[in-house]
């Protein structure tokens, strides 16, 4: 049972890392390639063919798939806060790579997000239910 927990824990960490990194850089490339406005419904589609936007979308597809994989064994109420670290990294990316101005208030908010993540990820087990596929455990 202990080794089963260790297996689940390291698998959860590896998958959560992929989820966070693809979310952060997917969003970064999306913003990098995005024009200042999308005037028509058609422009919502044509924008997808810009190289940076296409790269961003690709990373976000990986994000979606890795997140679904994570959700196949972990609770949603665990996954949400555990992967919220991505919000912090996005702020750094916005500040350093996109030259966005981040106020002291925003940084304070970022610290609160980190605190919330620590509260949830620190103590609780990642899983309430065993998968109902009946696999060996």
């Amino acid at each position: 049972m202990t080794s089963e927990n260790a297996r689940l824990r390291s698998k959860t960490w590896a998958c959560a890392t992929i989820v966070v990194l693809t979310q952060v850089f997917g969003n970064f490339f999306l913003k990098r390639g995005m024009p200042a406005e999308l005037p028509s419904p058609l422009s919502y589609l044509t924008v997808l063919f810009r190289p940076w936007v296409a790269l961003g979308v690709t990373l976000l597809v990986v994000w979606l798939l890795s997140r679904m994989t994570l959700l196949s064994w972990a609770d949603l109420s665990y996954v949400l806060p555990a992967t919220s670290l991505g919000y912090v990294l996005v702020a750094f990316v916005g500040r350093w790579l996109l030259d966005e101005r981040i106020t002291r208030q925003r940084w304070a908010g970022i610290l609160l997000i980190v605190a919330g993540v620590a509260l949830v990820g620190g103590g609780s087990a990642p899983q309430t239910f065993r998968g109902n596929s009946g696999g060996p455990s």
Partner: protein, 120 residues
């Protein structure tokens, strides 16, 4: 326009993610990460109605997000969509019947306060 897009994003994301969690739980834990097995899992999931519903909701949310991102900062658009946290933690408890202990509630609440500060 800004807040309308945010409302669409929050609603569609919350619905999409809860459907995703239901669909993946029905599918069961993914244990085999070899390409063939992952492909089989993908083809099973592509025929799962709940998963399809979640992907449609995510697509709606994605295009609303594209619109929002075109005229706001990245460091505004991403945190503001985390309003979904509270909605989803509540849905995790009442729809998915997950045991959400007080620590998780506290964590979600603190994360939400942080998100509010980031976005205001």
């Amino acid at each position: 326009m800004k807040w309308l897009l945010i409302a669409i994003i929050v609603a569609a994301t919350s619905v999409g993610e809860v459907l995703q969690a239901i669909g993946m739980r029905r599918h069961g834990e993914i244990r085999d990460f070899r390409p063939g097995a992952l492909g089989r899992a993908a083809s099973t999931l592509a025929r799962n109605g709940v998963v399809i519903g979640s992907v449609v909701a995510m697509a709606v949310s994605f295009f609303a997000y594209l619109g929002l991102l075109s005229f706001t900062d990245l460091s505004f658009a991403v945190p503001v969509t985390a309003v979904t946290y509270v909605v989803e933690t509540a849905l995790a408890k009442y729809v998915l019947k997950e045991r959400v202990n007080w620590l998780r509630w506290a964590g979600a609440a603190v994360v939400l306060c942080g998100v509010a500060l980031v976005s205001l």
